[in-house]
Subunit: 334 residues, 2 copies
């Protein structure tokens, strides 16, 4: 008898998609993108959901509870941003142990309220339960999109590939937090990377601005790691890519800490998850527009590669050599 | 330091409501009814969410996994029905142990598909995770309402109170299942009551038909037990009620099994949860209309009491004596 572990997360998602999908004239996208898209009286309704579990997605020793509340909303905002939408409403299912402290619940609430306030999103309801073990937080966010929705599909041969912000920092934070549990206290520098892991902020505004411009053809958020999420975008667009590793810069402290925690910077940048950055394909020659957008929103936008016809992803180093990466993002059931 | 157990579920929900509610011109109802209500380009969007956890809401020894999948959708359909809406879309967050069998996942899918197909509801997406312990299924359903939405508030003095179907049967089923775990096999008769617990069907069509008629003023679904849900409706409507216990009939087999499992029928009917029936207030003199609706939909509709000004709920027995019930529905954190 086969178990979920023997089948693997991606095959399970494919199976669920095949079994549960159906067609409907008002539905533009069901399972298989960052959020679902349905037409509701003229507007596009975008909906996404993410479940965070203590012991799987976070440990209570890592950060105060307001980080958990903040993150529970932001990971969903990131999905809405990746479709080019504006988050509007959320619903919250909480399952907490009987022994959970009211002070910690207040922490959770504070984090939720802060994230909601920043993006002008309001809570419309939820469900409260007792959990036999750790805390479980499921958040659903509904967003609305104006004239354009950006999908994973739609990238074109010759498009440039861009990524926002910096990659691998949340994965480095995770390394530091995990080491911390066995007694190695993070330095002050390390703390900023831990914050990228425990309290990420989605590129909510930037996602909407990118969707406003016709030169952007496809987008996804980087939540499973660049290699994995790029693979999703390429599969959906039925294309391949060349990624120039030289384009992926990192801070000095990032390099130093990678050395200290015995990880290769490129491994974290290519395979590390939870950065909640945006990866998008745009027509070539849009550097001026994107540089201006980067200045306006104060978010770095880096060109990292190019879309090609051949359906393979080449990671090319400074000497022109093709490098392969073994780990393709976080896999839940292994 | 106070814990959730010391505060209690209802106080926690009130606290969350106070902390997380905010006003918005497009939002007609956020936290505090069976579903949220927002205006979206003219239509009313109703959204509800329910989280089911193995070991809290169900045990895997009780029923095949298709019952769990079926129930996960039906409990949400019941909330949409209680607002007078039609369920349209759903999103699914699954968290399952690594050792979960693919055959059991297929069972879950079968149950979800059956429930979705019955109400013409389609799956728009979700999230898949590994659970460190038991299975967790969070479902969000979006429904749409036509010209009228029914709330818990809105009942008027002199309105008659009605309940659909039969009460206490799911609670009797739970008793039987719990006894079964310690070796007492349910009889064939008992199995029908177990099905009310493991595979309930919401009053989806009836809820919409009731909302179509102006004589119905307020509605709620009976999920926590009559005493508890009636209390919600009365508080929201700022009224009290007289309930005539004589009106609450039960089947002969229900009485016999209550005796066998050493519970009082009235306790289950008044305080037992998970019946997913509808409780509503309608103008007096609508018996003919409601009798016809009952015949059309093949669902019994029983008049059980009357709304009064005095803000208290009187349960009155055949001799005119007021009875009190100690247990006010299911309380999660005790």
């Amino acid at each position: 008898l086969s178990t979920l572990a023997s089948i693997g997360e991606w095959a399970i998602i494919e199976h669920l998609k095949k079994e549960l999908s159906s067609h409907h004239s008002q539905v533009l996208c069901a399972i298989g993108d960052d959020a679902s898209v349905s037409k509701q009286s003229g507007a596009y309704s975008l909906v996404t959901t993410d479940l965070l579990q203590e012991g799987v997605h976070f440990e209570r020793s890592w950060a105060p509870w307001d980080h958990v509340g903040y993150k529970a909303l932001q990971v969903n905002f990131s999905d809405i941003a990746a479709m080019g939408g504006r988050p509007c409403y959320y619903w919250l299912s909480l399952s907490l142990p009987k022994t959970f402290l009211m002070d910690d619940l207040q922490g959770l609430i504070t984090g939720l309220k802060r994230a909601a306030h920043e993006e002008n999103v309001i809570c419309l309801g939820g469900d409260t339960n007792r959990s036999p073990q750790g805390a479980i937080i499921n958040v659903v966010v509904q967003g609305l999109a104006g004239k354009r929705v950006l999908y994973r599909h739609g990238a074109q041969v010759g498009d440039d590939l861009y990524v926002t912000g910096s990659l691998g920092e949340a994965a480095l934070g995770l390394k530091i937090l995990q080491a911390n549990r066995v007694g190695l206290l993070p330095t002050k520098k390390g703390k900023n990377y831990c914050l990228r892991q425990t309290k990420p902020r989605a590129r909510a505004m930037l996602g909407q601005r990118l969707a406003d411009n016709d030169c952007v053809h496809a987008m996804i958020d980087v939540s499973d790691g660049l290699a994995s999420d790029l693979d999703h975008l390429l599969k959906a667009s039925q294309l391949g890519a060349k990624i120039y590793l030289d384009a992926l810069k990192y801070k000095k402290s990032f390099g130093e800490l990678c050395k200290q925690y015995q990880v290769l910077p490129m491994d974290l940048m290519i395979c590390g998850g939870e950065d909640y950055e945006l990866l998008f394909a745009a027509s070539p020659g849009e550097d001026t527009f994107l540089a201006k957008l980067s200045r306006d929103t104060k978010v770095p936008i880096t060109k990292i590669g190019r879309l090609i016809q051949e359906r393979h992803c080449h990671f090319i180093d400074g000497s022109g050599k093709s490098i392969s990466f073994s780990k393709k993002g976080y896999e839940h059931f292994h």
